[in-house]
């Protein structure tokens, strides 16, 4: 069953904040030189900023005071020139930084997406789409924020902090010492604030993810919502989720913003001690005033570092959620020495196969199932809903691996076959006949991108989909939406899509359930065409679809109850015969 619903919080893993930051920094290694350049530019720009007050002082105190017009104009021109240079440095720095940080986002996002595709179906089945999207689209931007902060705030400010500290101690060690006493207060305060807020940043991310999931789900199922008049109910639930977001955000910022008090208080303590020392040591006013200029420079990097440290909490919480995807081990692994299978005959063997879902290991969905299907045979799987028919198919297509027992194709265990080869030879038409946005043609070619128009047409004719496609406004170029196609038409397209992919082993899982009888008769011919010459597995409830199978397996309670041809099973007078009577016993 599902791990998670749209409105419940995802589980939080125990976190290692430092490891997360280091991991983010790891992505910067490849941009080492650019980063060094950015930092150099920042230091150069700051050096220029330091010159500005000196220039102004010179202009007023020296040039104007001595009534030197030329000198004044020269100083102003130098000032303008430096301002231009500063802006030039700034532009270059921003450009490099934008390229680096966005490249990292680009890289991580595609890594995460690629990794996602490797995860087993169980991952997807157990959580709402909106929550996965929240991580790979939204949470990833926190990586960018973190990188930018680390490069443009952390490193330059540490540099300044050290520089100004050195200058202060050279100028007046006593005063510097007094100011420094305030630092532990500052550091301790920031640390406590950070620690207190972090949990709420994590919570905030979870709640935001719930907003995503709930909105996505409601809008996906809007017809159900509207036809059950559930708009109000949904709105109320949503309002609750939205207010939880605000609440967790408020809980985080009520702590984080407290950093303002910490900064000002430690600044106050610094000044307190400075003046106290000044009076006690009978320092001159000049010395004191000169020193206060340094103090304001001293607090600037500290203030920025403190703010950065605090935003880090939110960013780490976001980055963790992205890394969690990257760290989820795919449970379905390709064998270390995959056997490549350029072609497949189509002998399928299940021996003593049992299966349970990973999160419910006690509930056996399949129990000791064994059967054989030889090349070209059509095997029909029959049984009540939930009996395990789809599970057999999921195992055969290797969407899941069995808990015990082996499945073999042409005598090779499924788990050792190269996955791309396996999937190429097995064509599955699933229950939900999923179509992608795009044209009808795009969808038909999904399994064979280079299919020619003739191939596409003949596949559609064989399936009986050609006539309705031509009746749509733009024929094969009609865009597929929920509204343009009926459920039955979607199934026809999915069948044609499977036929075009031309697999050696064919699986049809309730492939024709939504198709009317007249069309189904047409489709039957198509299916006969599809199944001939390949091993086929057909799950269907209509006995008319099943009657012609080479063999029928009756599945119930996770195991095979009966096996045989239509007439054999009828003669047996068991479950199948009863089912048959149910349909035809008018």
């Amino acid at each position: 069953m599902a791990v998670n619903s749209a409105s419940a919080d995802e589980a939080r893993t125990k976190t290692q904040k430092r490891a997360t930051v280091i991991r983010v920094l790891g992505y910067m290694k490849q941009y080492k030189w650019q980063v060094i350049l950015v930092i150099t530019l920042m230091i150069a720009a700051s050096a220029i900023s330091v010159v500005f007050p000196l220039l102004i002082e010179n202009a007023v105190d020296v040039q104007v005071a001595s009534e030197n017009k030329k000198g004044l104009i020269t100083v102003v021109c130098i000032g303008l020139g430096l301002a231009l240079l500063w802006s030039a440095f700034y532009i270059i720095r921003v450009r490099i930084m934008a390229s680096i940080s966005n490249s990292v986002v680009l890289q991580v996002r595609s890594e995460a997406f690629a990794h996602l595709q490797k995860l087993s179906l169980h991952y997807f089945d157990s959580r709402p789409t909106g929550k996965i999207l929240a991580r790979i689209i939204g949470d990833i931007t926190s990586l960018k924020d973190m990188l930018r902060q680390l490069v443009t705030t952390l490193i330059p400010n540490i540099f300044f902090f050290i520089a100004i500290t050195v200058v202060m101690f050279i100028k007046n060690p006593v005063f510097a010492g007094a100011v420094f006493v305030a630092l532990p207060v500052m550091a301790g305060g920031s640390f406590i604030v950070f620690r207190m807020a972090f949990r709420f940043w994590q919570e905030f991310r979870q709640k935001q993810s719930n907003v995503n999931a709930f909105a996505h789900e409601t809008f996906s199922g809007i017809r159900v919502v509207q036809s059950f008049c559930a708009e109000k109910q949904m709105k109320n639930s949503f309002a609750q989720i939205a207010s939880q977001v605000t609440k967790s955000f408020t809980s985080a910022v009520i702590r984080v913003d407290f950093i303002d008090v910490v900064i000002h208080a430690s600044q106050g303590i610094g000044y307190f001690l400075l003046y106290l020392m000044a009076v006690r040591t009978n320092a001159t006013v000049g010395a004191l005033l000169a020193f206060t200029t340094y103090i304001s420079l001293f607090w600037q990097p500290i203030r920025q570092l403190a703010n950065m440290y605090n935003q880090l909490g939110n960013q780490i919480a976001g980055a963790e959620r992205v890394f969690e995807i990257l760290d989820t081990e795919p449970t379905l692994l390709e064998s270390e020495h995959p056997v490549s299978m350029p072609s497949v005959r189509g002998d399928v063997q299940f021996s003593h196969v049992s299966f349970a879902y990973p999160d419910e290991p006690q509930t056996m969905v399949l129990n000791d199932v064994s059967f054989k299907a030889s090349e070209g045979e059509t095997i029909a799987l029959v049984g009540p809903t939930g009996a395990g028919k789809t599970t057999i198919i999921n195992l055969l297509a290797r969407f899941y691996d069995p808990v015990s027992g082996t499945i073999m194709i042409d005598g090779t265990p499924l788990s050792s076959i190269a996955i791309p080869d396996l999937r190429r030879h097995i064509g599955v038409m699933t229950q939900d006949s999923y179509l992608f946005s795009g044209t009808i043609r795009d969808n038909l070619c999904y399994g064979k991108l280079d299919a020619t128009d003739d191939e596409i047409k003949s596949a559609c004719k064989a399936i009986g989909a050609d006539s309705f496609i031509l009746a749509t406004p733009k024929g094969y170029d009609t865009e597929v939406t929920d509204q343009t196609l009926s459920q039955g038409q979607r199934q026809l397209l999915a069948l044609a899509r499977t036929l075009l992919a031309n697999p050696s082993i064919l699986i049809l899982d309730e492939a024709t359930s939504a198709i009317d009888t007249a069309t189904e008769l047409l489709v039957q011919n198509g299916i006969r065409l599809l199944t001939s010459g390949r091993t086929s597995f057909v799950v269907a409830h209509r006995l008319s679809t099943i009657r012609n199978a080479s063999r029928i397996l009756v599945i119930d309670h996770g195991s095979i109850q009966e096996s045989g041809t239509h007439s054999e099973l009828l003669a047996q007078g068991g479950q199948y015969a009863a089912l048959y009577k149910a349909q035809f016993g008018i």
Binding site: V76, F228, P384, Q483
Partner: protein, 573 residues
Amino acid sequence: MKRFMVYAARHKGLYLIAFLMLFGGIALDAVIPSFVRKLVDDVMIGQKTGELMTLLLSMLGCFVLRGVTDYLQEFSSDKVGWKVAEDARVDLFEHIEGEDQTFFRENTPGELMSRVKRDTESVGTTFGFIGIFMIQIIIHVIVMLACLARLSLPMALVCIVLMPFIAVLGYKGEKKGDALYGDISEETATMNKTAGEAISGIRTVKAFNKEEHEKKRFEKRNKHFFDLSVRLEWMFGNCDAGVSFLGRAMLFLSILAGGLLVISKKMSLGTLASSVEYVNNLVWPMMEIGWILNEISSAMASSKKIDNIFKRKSRLTEGTIDSVADDELVFSHVGLNLEDTMILDDISFTVSSGKTLGIMGATGSGKSTITNLALRFLDPTSGTILLGGRPSTDYTFHALRSAFSIVTQDIFLFSDTAMNNIKIGNPDMSDQIAMHAAASAKADGFITHLEEGYSTVIGEKGVGLSGGQKQRLCIARALAKNAPILILDDSTSALDMETEREIQHELHALEHKQSTIIVAHRISAVRRADEIIYLDRGRIVERGTHQSLMAMHGRYYETFVAQYSKEDADGSK
């Protein structure tokens, strides 16, 4: 934006705190230097050491207070921003819920999710922290300019002359940013859609071995997003650099002007020195303009997207009558023409109270469209639909849709507990009623076997359940709604024969109590109906009871023969 003003007005208290604290902070900033002056003048020079501690402690107190004003200002502006975002979210969500099918055809869930989450957030922050900070800066600039003008009008004029250039640069940056943010917002939505499809359709992706293909599709979006983001940041980099340069030019040029005045003896050196302090204080706000503009552009782009949704009036207008008197449903010469395609043509039928209508026909012949029209997911282009003797457009959507219980063809379940799925639309329903409905739909058995029974959380769209189990849950929730008219739209296709028969048996028991419309492919589902219509390409080609249709030897008869056999057909007449 106007809409957001309304939300903002709801939280006056928080704004009041933020502004009070803002002014408190300004006042404290003015007070703290006076302590320093006293310390220097009285204690250090005047040697009144007795006052030292009082002065120092008062100063420390002022610093702490300054921290508190900053804290409260920042906290209340952070909070108010999210409050505004929350209000917008809930309103937008509710508005979207009321849209019609065309809207949902134009906007995918992924896009709408982006609007509801990201766009509201971006406008919200502008109404919180950013907006308040911007006002703070504006106040600051005005005060500084006024002080400067009092000391030296020519220097103030230099600044005032340069400010329009800054404004133009800023305005241009904002416009470009607005457009780029619009593109980014679009791209975010497209990226959500692309990734969303690959996630929702993961079975198909894996079955066709198409992981690489999906990766490439996503990569294209990802790359485009990268390009846009970089372009945006570069653009704002230029804008920022330009504004910074102009700000500094303002400083140096006003010093030049002031300096020349001093040299020509029109101003004192002392006045120049203090004027420079004020100009200095005008420069730093210019450095902040860049990122504020960036945020505002983003908010403007988002607010446009949100406004577009609100502006679009649902094409279906609601009536005012809020209850349905009688459950007779009449379709009279109903036609539907969409994009020049005749979907339905001249459909007429009457379902009187307690009667059953069966609808058969080929895939795509318009069967489901009839149910969509009945519930007003769209309106017919000709003819009228009457419910209880009145045009269905007279009713409120709530009243109209309350008259129907529907089991749709596409199975959609919510990622919630089995119980809540059954109770959808009526959370106050008693567990007993819900369980009774589940029993009638033969869903009771498998639900109780789930790990946590009715409290088991079912995956999105019912993943984890078999097709038939999902369908039974859908039937259960329709039965639980217990509306006067029940619509079953091909709702037993995924069921095995035995279960289908049992459910049909239950449904027969409801007959005569409830009007029923059954859309089906199987004769067994419709044969007992009071009237059966057979559709072909949007038209009714045959109609009658099972007996009369069999006697006609037409399409219905052929279907029967295909499903059973000729002998059965002739025998059953």
